[in-house]
């Protein structure tokens, strides 16, 4: 037998040193005990005969998706949303447990739909629950940033994987500061939403329909090499979207309206976030329902609970308390003003960008309270908990290594490394709006819970 050219050693360092003393190179694993209580489930899942192939298929399915922008349309039209139906970010929740920013967004949404004249009057509506219903965006092929409230009259981006015809949806981005998705519902917030429904949406629809389908996945490839990580920085992506839509946009309507639209989009560096998110959603949905796969297909928060869904566990949500972000505050706001983590935007991290691609966005490390070495280390650390790399989405500063893609529940439990999420912070009190931005992780316990279910399913298959 040939002498091994290299040895990977995990465990006692003494045995690794003994190999090194024989002039064979050793790669040491910095092994530490797994999360408490996960050992037996980790063995069960490791030995599940479906796992390796299921994960390979799940990752390939995600990487195969090409998201294109094909339409812009009201939620009533593309989602069949009816008056009184509200979508929200994160796992399912009822009004009684909803946080301030989600309540604020729901109140504003009710007023936008004309269910009440004054948003505050909608409290009774939601408390009684008789004529309104709440449902997660994720249950309708949709993602929503922050509170993620979607009402029937809101206009939605429509993204399609043209090979399969599958679609994903997201509302249009309102900008920063006092906006509905951060829980603000003052008259100016509602006025902006009405303009978005009356002018922005129809003009974008005309432009999108008159243009070739916009390759959103392709824009993501480019923006990741232009300093965006596509969660808290979408500046390059927004400009590329304008580049692609402007020729058709300029002749789509009244020149004054067109100018307003261009001004609005150009003035909102986060405009592209609402395309990055459904592109990620579309990719990850391709991996849903693969038995035996331990890959996370959604991470989402409703301001109270943080939930994940996993490819091999169907539609079940594994939830724990949403955490407070660690970061920087706007103006006079401080930690006491912040609401726990909220929004479906962690779909970007689930797909390997956002916090996972922090190394490619050094320009915003200070915005979320970090340093450039932290950013490099974060992206490298995320490779420890992911199934593979995205060959299209590369990080130049890391020698064009692909972004870490496909969070593996077993790897999170084995290493204790939690997914790193870049996020905005909403005010705790309904109506306040954004108070800061920072870094946050999921509550650790939801990963052992998902692992336990994966192990149960593997045992049941025998």
């Amino acid at each position: 037998m040939d002498t091994p050219t290299s040895v990977v050693a995990v465990g006692a360092d003494l045995l690794a040193s003994a190999v090194e003393s024989q002039a064979v190179p050793v790669t040491r694993v910095d092994w530490r005990p797994p999360m408490p209580g996960t050992e037996d489930d980790l063995v069960e899942v490791a030995l599940d005969p479906l796992r390796a192939d299921a994960n390979a298929r799940a990752l390939a399915a995600v990487l195969d998706v090409q998201a294109t922008l094909v339409d812009v349309a009201p939620a009533s039209e593309v989602l069949g949303l009816e008056p009184g139906q509200f979508l929200h970010a994160g796992p399912p929740i009822e009004w009684g447990r909803a946080s301030g920013p989600l309540r604020g967004a729901l109140l504003g949404g009710a007023a936008l739909e004309g269910l009440v004249a004054d948003p505050d009057d909608a409290v009774a509506l939601f408390e009684s629950g008789s004529s309104v219903s709440l449902e997660p965006c994720h249950h309708r092929g949709t993602v929503g940033p922050m509170a993620g409230v979607v009402t029937p009259s809101m206009w939605m981006w429509v993204l399609e994987d043209q090979r399969t015809g599958r679609r994903a949806f997201c509302s249009l981005n309102e900008g920063l500061g006092k906006v509905l998705r951060y829980g603000a519902y003052s008259p100016d917030v509602l006025q902006r939403l009405r303009w978005m429904g009356g002018v922005l949406g129809p003009l974008l629809r005309a432009a999108v329909r008159a243009s070739d389908p916009v390759d959103v996945t392709g824009i993501l490839t480019q923006m990741l090499q232009m300093g965006d990580e596509a969660h808290n920085r979408n500046r390059a992506g927004t400009l590329m979207l304008l580049r692609d839509l402007s020729p058709a946009l300029v002749s789509a309507g009244d020149p004054a309206d067109v100018a307003d639209v261009l001004r609005f989009v150009g003035g909102n560096d986060h405009f592209f976030l609402n395309l990055a998110m459904p592109a990620c959603k579309l990719a990850l949905d391709a991996a849903r329902g693969i038995d035996g796969s331990t890959m996370v297909v959604a991470m989402a928060r409703n301001g109270t609970d943080f939930g994940i869904q996993v490819a091999g566990t169907g539609g079940e949500w594994f939830t724990g308390p949403a955490q407070l972000a660690d970061g920087l505050y706007l103006g006079d706001f401080g930690p006491d003003d912040a609401n726990p983590d909220i929004g479906d935007s962690a779909i970007t991290e689930t797909a390997g960008i956002g916090g996972f691609a922090m190394a490619t966005a050094p320009a915003i490390v200070r915005f979320v309270g970090g340093s450039v070495p932290d950013a490099l280390a974060t992206t490298q650390r995320m490779h420890e908990i992911t199934l593979g790399e995205n060959p299209r989405w590369q990080v130049p500063v890391l020698e064009f290594q692909g972004t870490p893609t496909g969070i593996d529940v077993t790897m999170v439990c084995r290493t204790g490394i939690l997914p790193q999420i870049n996020t905005g912070m909403a005010g705790r009190v309904a109506g306040v709006g954004q108070v800061g931005a920072g870094l946050v992780t999921p509550p650790a316990e939801i990963f052992p819970a998902a692992l336990s279910r994966l192990a149960d399913l593997a045992r049941a298959r025998g």
């Binding site: 290299s6 006692a12 003994a18 050992e39 063995v43 490099l376």
Partner: protein
Amino acid sequence: MTAGRIHVELRSGAYADSVTLLQVSRDVAGVDGVLAAQVAMATPLNIDVLRGMGFDVPASSPNDMVVAVRAADDAALGRGLAAVEQSLAAVRRPGGATTGGQQPHRTSASALRAVPDGLVLVSTPGPSAIVEAVDALDAGCDVMLFSDNVPVEQEVALKRLAAARGLLVMGPDCGTAVVGGLGLGFANVVRPGPVGIVAASGTGCQQLLALLDHAGVGVTSALGVGGRDLSAEVGGLATREALRRLDLDDDVELIVLISKPPAPEVAADIEAYVASLGTPVELAFLGPGRPDLTAAAEAVLRRLGHDVPTWPVRVPGAAHLGGPGTLLQGLFVGGTNCTEARIVAESLLGTDGGHGFTDFGDDQYTSGRAHPMIDPTIRLEHLARVAADPTTAVVLLDVVLGHGAEPDPAALLAPAIAQVPQPVVVSLVGTADDPQDRDRQAAQLAAAGAEVHLSNAGAARRAVALLGGTP
């Protein structure tokens, strides 16, 4: 036991392997004024050891690190605790907390992305060992599973996975392997040669390596398969793959298969497989009424046309006269050495003589502790106990050398042997080129009063003879 200042502290989330913590404990125990020190993971076994040392350990989990120090006074305790930090920091590898630099690999799966064709050597605690081993198989790599405490059903599942992919699982509880000349685990330093070994026993393999080396016969590869591989449950899955690999190796002229006798339902299958190979196979199935390993080595030598040497014995430098005791007490670090000695003794003395044979490498003595070939503490305690026992007539020990084993076992064992009033016989399993310098070890043990044999079976026969009063 409770004199002085006592400090017991639990550190949750801290982890270091048992060998590293052994070194830390020794560093701290060596500090002036420190009376006792133990830094260990809080496994049930280690908590027993700590209690035995007089420490009260609060409720804990095996994932907690216990730091326990007893010192003469406050100043000494302070020095001891400083030494804990210093020693832990010294063993912590660079790269653990880098910012921006290369991150350490935290799983074998991650390491194998950087080193895609590596052989994987796993020595983590049992439950996690399977998970790391599956990483190796997923990456298409062979794995040596040094870890013990692996349930048999998990071993079966792992080896089925490996068999389906044409990969080799050496272990679990595989202490020794030589792969293309590279020694893994407690392997001895051997010259390349015509023999290939498939061994279900680590120390059995080492005994054969040592005897063949003494006779001037080299070994190209020695593949461990784990002690249960030829059981009905496992069905010889790894043995077949190991035989297949050695059969493919043109440098191997003779394969030796060392194991307990296979389960009846496995025996025919393995014998048929052996018959299908192009390379001859010497079957060395060990057990009562069967040839011992020394006899197996002699058979191998004869089959290769070599002379059979006289196995060396070093006579003691100081006489241990013993007392009125009647019992043989065998204290072993090698499981197969222990079993072989017991079988030899029972063949001569019968099975109901009350003689003692203890294997300190058994799972019950190694949970969260380094193997006794690395950490002699527990056996040394027992040695003192049997020496003080008036029923003990003769003490039989093994000392196993090679890569990974204690760097100088005689340093602690020879002084302990010198304190034993009864005759002491040692089987010293090692080769002349082992890093411990076998002949110097033999000289020190003999000077302390032990009779030192290269053949473990020979040592056992001699111990039995000494029971009969033969000087």
